[in-house]
Symmetry: C2
Subunit: 132 residues, 2 copies
């Protein structure tokens, strides 16, 4: 179960404002723009090789990212650990180690959130994709 | 100026409590324990190949990490982008893009913080080390 930092999510109020600032820091154009209706977000991704930097703009107030933004303001939202077997991580850690069921992410990503109460304030999830 | 996610810092109140939780999630023992007197912190690192996960416990109230912990609580503190030339990033972005001067980090890491007011809540820094 090799792990790496698969992506880091930052929540922002307005992608149109945040993307140019990130393009400047990262010295590259945004890699792709997506919409994830189940999460109620627009998404901008930057490819840093082994890892993605992912900007998330909530579109509706009744979603997890929107509630996080409301509570914490803009900034870091979660870190996603790439694994070659999400199922193996679940069996290793047990169901109680997770919050909620597995869900689909971008592309063919399959993600599950680690129970935040156990991680000393760190929002962590596992993700399996075809490149893991 | 190839960039990658060099490390992610999480600030915690007590390394002795946080380390076992992270060891379980990452399925590995902590890689090293350090103390960085200039920043007033104890540090635990986990090696994820291209990236480190770094846990930081403030030891004094008058430090940047301690103030961050006081204001935000435990959790994500900053993301450090690895670069093969810190000086080239500074020349590319200009002095106004940074908060404060460059400083030493762990080992031979040399770091400089991106001006947080420009990054929509994301705490970002650049780091150059001999492996960059």
């Amino acid at each position: 179960m090799t792990q790496h930092i698969h992506h880091i999510n930052f929540v922002v109020r307005d992608l149109a404002e945040a993307i140019p600032a990130w393009e400047r820091i990262l010295d590259q154009k945004v890699t792709s723009l997506d919409r994830l209706d189940e999460r109620g977000v627009n998404i901008a991704r930057f490819d840093l090789g082994q890892s993605w930097i992912v900007l998330v703009q909530p579109l509706r107030a009744d979603t997890v990212p929107a509630k996080y933004l409301e509570q914490h303001g803009e900034g870091f939202f979660l870190m996603s650990l790439g694994t070659n077997s999400l199922q193996a991580e679940i069996e290793r850690l047990g169901e109680a180690a997770f919050d909620g069921p597995a869900r689909d992410g971008l592309d063919d990503w399959r993600v599950r959130d680690v129970a935040v109460a156990r991680m000393f304030g760190a929002q962590v999830q596992f993700v399996e994709d075809s490149d893991s």
